[in-house]
């Protein structure tokens, strides 16, 4: 392509960071020094452009090393990959974690989403604002703008997936290696520590912090930013870790998540061995018979998705693991990836085997540095031992996994937006049909599965499909993870077989603290629905929730007690959808803005429910009916249920009653595995 570049040179550091991902340039045609031979023939072309999917990793490399993406750096990335600068800018500016203007190397992300707001993130926000000025501003008071290296900035963040330890804050610091620190639950001193200190003085190679063995190179250093408390072990998120009843969580807390030997000693890779024994058709049969449905929110039968993809004549087939867990209140996939990363690697290998894919992409959200480190370690060790790559376990199976890291965009968890993000395009959802099983990643047949869904495949193969199907209820089989947060005594990740009621779950978490009562429970996250405190008998099954006009979504159970400010929660939900809309279609792009404005008017008292509720309903209905993807289609769910179910704004009971019949369908589409699946089902 005949591209025009800005002719701004990258710094040596920026060039190194990009070359570390892309390899050194081959000629003047792809960003290297021009040689005599370059004048006689052209190189690159298609070969360079076919690496477009490395755009996002290359942008990450610069952002991780320098802290922001300069014009010179973007120009260099474009030359290396033959990407038009306007397109690369379009991609880079899509993501919240990338900066296109110079900023300090350390960025503190303070979660102000539902669970953290209920746990007091407001005070932390005020403290950060007092120390560093408004969000995005900033240099520390003691560190002037003349020394951006030593300074820090901050942003309010959507859910960081640390809800069991709310309120949470995450600091990321660019460098070689990049470093991070997590404070959760965060108190004022923790936030001070995240903003304090300079860049780490002891760089050391990444991933070498455990002292025993050098370990594979990982994106983030294993030691946290100096001056911060170490993060509690992954198992701390599971209050009843070690329970003999656990199936999905059985290794959490029992094995060293960095040790492949531990994993194998605890039953790891037995399922893959079984899969290789029974063959791809056998795996498909077991998964079909298990009744497993997607755990990302859409509840589409996994076996059907796999079988449909396996049958496609077009090749290659791809597997995508959707680990872009961003639904506010959801943290189950994080715990699985941090605490038992090899299980996901094994499950992806089995899925790839079953659907005939040689490459699997693991798309993990950018706000999960520890899960990323554990997975990078797991992949490296698995490759070393012949559990990934060619001839896995001495069989003829060839399969490998590439990690792709998101950069702060909830929409990329939508099952078609994730393709765009991986391909190096903007993370915009695509129109269905065609469905991913026909035309998915790179236009090829693709299976997209959520982390929890994939991990369920291990017990299915070990128990057999029919035995798995006998767990739970007839229509909701197997175990399920629930992310409990908010006003309960022991928030955390709980594993229960399908069939328990909401009350059972709240009681398992110790109930609400004395003197408190439950005002509302948000089921399914921001895209989900509120139920009342007197509706705890709702069975936590797909059919039970549906019958109650709610939905399980991704398994979020966020308890709001009588002290919670419901209207503030709704305003936060509305702000979330406005921030996370990709902007492609009008109903969502503008509708989410108008929804937030109406709620702000209601909060300030500038207008009355009589006036605003009809407007909210009309905007909400159009978003639900006419948006392209599940994000817009569910952006009004929580608000609607707060109005109709909780009676917020005390509308007369004669108002069009109850959540609409379509609530459960539409709601599910927001969550990762989404829309297509539901439509496919219909």
């Amino acid at each position: 392509m005949d591209l025009r570049f800005l002719d701004e040179a990258p710094t040596a550091v920026e060039r190194d960071a990009v070359d570390a991902v892309l390899g050194p340039p081959e000629s003047g045609w792809d960003g290297g020094i021009r040689q005599d031979a370059d004048l006689r023939y052209a190189r690159g072309g298609h070969a360079s452009r076919e690496r477009r999917d490395l755009l996002l990793p290359a942008l990450h490399a610069v952002n991780d090393r320098v802290g922001w993406i300069s014009r010179g750096a973007l120009d260099y990335v474009c030359r290396r990959l033959t990407v038009p600068p306007a397109e690369a800018y379009a991609v880079a500016s899509f993501y919240a974690m990338f900066a296109l203007h110079e900023r300090p190397r350390r960025v503190v992300h303070l979660c102000t989403d539902i669970a953290c707001a209920a746990a007091g993130s407001g005070a932390l926000r005020d403290r950060l604002a007092a120390r560093l000025g408004p969000p995005g501003g900033g240099h520390g008071p003691s560190r002037g703008a003349e020394a951006p290296d030593a300074a820090v900035t901050w942003h309010e963040s959507p859910c960081l997936g640390l809800c069991e330890r709310a309120p949470a804050a995450l600091a990321l610091q660019a460098g070689d290696p990049a470093r991070y620190a997590v404070a959760a639950p965060a108190v004022a001193e923790d936030v001070d520590a995240l903003t304090g200190g300079g860049p780490g003085t002891a760089p050391g190679p990444a991933g070498s912090g455990n002292g025993h063995h050098p370990g594979p190179r990982t994106t983030y250093a294993s030691a946290p930013l100096p001056g911060n408390r170490p993060e509690p072990a992954p198992a701390s998120a599971v209050p009843d870790a070690g329970s003999p009843d656990h199936v999905l969580l059985r290794r959490i807390g029992r094995v060293d998540p960095l040790s492949l030997d531990d994993y194998r000693a605890a039953g790891g890779y037995a399922a893959l061995r079984e899969a290789l024994r029974i063959g791809p058709a056998g795996v498909l049969r077991e998964v079909n018979e298990s009744g497993l449905v997607g755990r990302g929110g859409a509840a589409f039968p996994t076996g059907r998705k796999w079988s449909a993809t396996a049958q496609q004549p077009d090749t290659p087939h791809y597997l995508v693991c959707n680990a872009d867990e961003s639904e506010p209140g959801t943290f189950k996939d994080r715990v699985l990836m941090e605490g038992d990363p090899f299980s996901l690697v094994e499950a992806m290998t089995i899925a790839g085997f079953a659907i005939g894919a040689r490459t699997g992409y693991l798309y993990i959200r950018g706000e999960y540095p520890r899960a990323l480190r554990h997975l990078e370690n797991a992949l490296a060790l698995a490759r070393e031992r012949g559990l990934l790559g060619t001839g896995i376990m001495g069989s003829g199976l060839d399969f490998d996994i590439e990690i792709r890291r998101g950069a702060g965009a909830y929409i990329c968890g939508e099952e078609t937006a994730i393709f765009g993000s991986i391909e190096g395009q903007r993370g915009e959802p695509r129109t269905k049909p065609p469905f991913p099983v026909e035309k998915g990643l790179f236009g090829k047949p693709t299976v997209v599965n959520n982390v929890e869904t994939l991990v369920n495949v291990l017990p299915i193969l070990l128990m057999g499909g029919p035995a798995y199907a006998s767990v739970g209820t007839r229509d909701s089989t197997g175990p399920k993870l629930f992310c409990l947060s908010g006003g309960v005594r022991r928030p955390g990740l709980y594993e229960l077989p399908f069939g328990a009621t909401l009350r059972d779950l709240v009681e398992a978490a110790g109930g609400v603290p004395g003197g408190r009562s439950i005002r509302a429970v948000l089921l399914g996250g921001a895209a989900g629905t509120f139920v009342r405190g007197d509706e705890l008998d709702i069975p936590l099954t797909f059919e039970g929730a549906r019958a109650a006009g709610a939905s399980l979504g991704s398994g979020v159970v966020l308890v709001l007690d009588d002290t919670a400010d419901l209207l503030a929660t709704l305003v936060r939900v509305a702000a979330f959808f406005r921030d996370e809309s990709c902007g492609q279609c009008v109903p969502c792009r503008v509708g989410t803005v108008r929804q937030e404005e109406a709620l702000l008017r209601l909060r300030s008292g500038a207008s009355s429910p009589d006036r605003e509720l009809p407007l909210l309903r009309e905007v909400g209905r159009a978003m639900r009916d006419a948006s392209i993807c599940g994000l817009g289609q569910t952006a009004w769910n929580a608000v609607e249920s707060a109005i109709d179910r909780l009676g917020l704004f005390a509308e007369p009971p004669s108002a069009p009653g109850g959540p609409r019949a379509t609530v459960e369908d539409t709601h599910q589409t927001a969550a990762p595995e989404s829309g297509a699946a539901t439509e496919e089902a219909s």
Binding site: L74, P84, Y89, A90, G583, R594, E596, E597
Partner: protein, 316 residues
């Protein structure tokens, strides 16, 4: 003139129903095409007759029986037995809301058809409150994805900002931009392959932008004007049109359109010269012209000044 005969494989005919009337169309026909054939008018904004449908604006949504959500007529293909309603209550509601949401956030004053559609669907774009003040130039371009300043809700946020005038040939007035993606597609791999612009940012702050919002002369733009050709709202316009509109002298009723052949090279592009008061004020190309499909280069599109240079005595 003889037309080339395209020997595409024969397409199976399928039967479907639109608004209760049976239709028989070749497989692969979109709802919009079938409706056009049946004489049913469906409003469109982001649809372009020379471009792949983006189905972004959602003003063309129709109700497909049995589907959970509405479907964009521009891209949804008819399937055997499909029953489509193009004017149901659900359809009318979503169309009205799309018109209201767009009308409240974008300047649609030069978008053909909108006034009539507002009337037809009963849309009232002013219902969301007074419009917020336009942003200063550059403010929207500097916004970070995933962040916004929540106001108090008393003003309806808009995309309005001053027009970008950075070259002599055409003007980008993004107050009028509905984000239809057509300019990006025309500039990119669907026609021009110049890739000077993309959609930057996210959500309500998404905008059409060059890299780092550099001015057009610093960008890859080659001034073919093919983006202007496809812009449905007048956000992109000839500098002549922009100036005349500002002066209040733009009057399409007084304009004539003459289609001729470009004299610059031997390709033979059709030009349609829009002439007002004996001056060429705009150049387009017929979208059904097999040479251009509506596309031109800088010479055909903007190189007309010499024709009307008639010596000092005759200049105004």
């Amino acid at each position: 003139m003889t037309e080339p005969v395209l020997l595409a494989p024969p397409r199976r005919l399928i039967d479907a129903t639109i608004d209760g009337e049976p239709v028989r169309v070749p497989e692969g026909t979109t709802v919009l095409e079938a409706c056009a054939g049946a004489g049913t008018e469906i409003p469109t904004l982001c649809y372009g007759d020379t471009l792949t449908p983006r189905n972004a604006c959602r003003v063309c949504v129709v109700e497909v029986e049995g589907a959970r959500t509405l479907a964009p007529a521009c891209s949804r293909k008819l399937e055997p037995g499909m029953s489509v309603a193009t004017d149901s209550e659900r359809v009318r509601h979503s169309r009205r809301m799309v018109l209201e949401l767009l009308g409240s956030s974008v300047d649609l004053s030069t978008t053909p058809g909108v006034a009539e559609w507002n009337e037809r669907y009963g849309a009232d774009p002013d219902r969301f409150g007074p419009r917020a003040e336009p942003a200063a130039l550059g403010v929207r371009d500097a916004r970070r994805a995933g962040e916004h300043e929540p106001g108090d809700g008393t003003e309806a946020e808009t995309v309005e900002q001053p027009a970008k005038v950075d070259n002599d040939l055409y003007v980008r007035d993004y107050s009028k931009c509905i984000m239809c993606y057509k300019c990006v597609d025309a500039c990119g791999d669907q026609w021009q392959n110049t890739f000077a612009i993309g959609v930057a940012g996210r959500g309500f702050d998404a905008r059409i932008s060059t890299e780092h919002d550099v001015s057009l002369p610093d960008s890859a733009c080659v001034y073919c004007g093919n983006c202007v050709e496809v812009c449905p709202t007048g956000a992109l316009s000839f500098a002549t049109e922009f100036e005349m509109r500002r002066e209040g002298t733009w009057d399409e009723g007084r304009q004539t359109e003459t289609t001729t052949v470009c004299t610059y090279c031997g390709v033979g592009c059709n030009l349609t010269l829009h002439v007002q008061d004996n001056r060429i004020v705009k150049v387009t190309s017929p979208h059904d012209n097999p040479v251009t499909h509506g596309n031109l280069c800088i010479k055909g599109r903007f190189g007309f000044q010499h024709v009307q240079r008639r010596g000092e005595g005759e200049r105004r």
